[in-house]
Symmetry: C2
Subunit: 227 residues, 2 copies
């Protein structure tokens, strides 16, 4: 039914970026959607605090002990004041979320969420949603390497330790980095249909994990089976 | 031995970009290397024909039939005239490689290759290496969706149809899109050691394919077992 034409399908996507975002958290989901945008009319806004290019490089020198000069910059199309109405917002994670000057980021998510059809968070991108207050009382996940910190970010979220991704209402949260790809393909399957998801995974030559409870990484980090 | 300090390890990496590159071809490998650059001193140059941001959006309107406005732009740090000496060059693929105005790209690869320690191509990035003439008589692979076209690009390459990735001398070529991640982690394992590869895959929560001959996509496209 959803696939009878494009009526009711999400059109306007946004990616939120901040200094020291994790590249694959953003570009894994985005490249799935890049392919999808050949078959469905879609627009992407890349939203940051300013229109200056946003780099994956570490802001905090202690996280770059060998003084590598290694990173990539993406160009925003909008800032927090002029972003267009969105149907879907994607929030990547990254070390940059350990900074304490991100209030405008949380404010943007807080005021944008009510008009979204869907919110997708990848890795510690769920910290942003949590700090914006929109995960309170909801189930969500995050990456497994930083689990202890995740629980401190917002204890009143029902953090799910064992999950590749979690869906609660219209919020899709994925586990660490590459998990964002599995969550996004699952999202495509749910919203655009099973054939579309299969087609994209095939085009990307990607063997997706289809089971949201698949999570060997939770075991590697000895996380409890309960939340 | 290679891991006794950093002596002899590659330091200066380059990513080659062109309009309508495939985002994950670039950012899958790059994010692996982003993580590696915390443990090893590494520099990245992003190299394009000009210093203008380079977009994944389709140049060719026939490839964007629904007029989506969906894509991401990366900021080059160098152009073909001022790129620094490189140890490793990474070439992503993408629909942009069907354009016929890319001679300066091929020239750059042709004159850069002799001083590289390693060349890594992802997806149809191997077309660039092939057109630069440096794959003649070598084994290489490419994505499986465009296999017929790949063989026409340069028949005097020993194109390997069934492969997640192929190593011939110092040239690593991977199959389509997500295969670049497996090839790059295998490259990290070979050059920086097994523990480093494991650590990065764990940090990315990525279940890597470790067998270079794993290739269910070649079967999907009914490619012959022989080249």
């Amino acid at each position: 039914m959803e696939r009878d034409g494009h009526i009711g399908l999400p059109v306007n996507y946004g990616l939120l970026v901040f200094p020291t975002f994790q590249a694959l958290d953003a570009f894994g989901p985005l490249d799935i959607l890049n392919l999808l945008s050949r078959d469905f009319p879609m627009n992407l806004s890349i939203i940051a605090q300013t229109l200056e290019p946003v780099s994956t490089k570490h802001r905090n020198p202690s996280l770059n002990p060998l003084k590598s000069n290694f990173g990539e910059s993406i160009v925003p199309t909008h800032d927090f004041t002029n972003a267009p109405p969105l149907d879907v917002l994607i929030i990547p994670g990254g070390y940059g979320l350990r900074a304490n000057d991100l209030d405008s980021l949380y404010d943007f998510v807080k005021r944008t969420y009510p008009s979204l059809k869907y919110l997708i968070t990848v890795c510690t991108g769920s910290w942003v949603a949590a700090r914006a207050g929109i995960l309170d009382g909801r189930r969500a996940t995050s990456n497994k390497n930083s689990w202890a910190r995740t629980k401190e970010v917002r204890p009143n979220v029902n953090w799910v330790a064992h999950a590749r991704w979690v869906v609660d209402g219209n919020i899709w949260s994925s586990s660490g980095v590459s998990a964002g790809m599995d969550a996004t393909i699952a999202f495509v399957e749910k919203v655009y249909g099973k054939e579309q998801a299969k087609k994209i995974a095939r085009e990307m030559e990607y063997e997706r994990h289809e089971d949201p409870s698949w999570d060997p990484f939770a075991d590697i980090y000895n996380l409890p089976n309960l939340n």
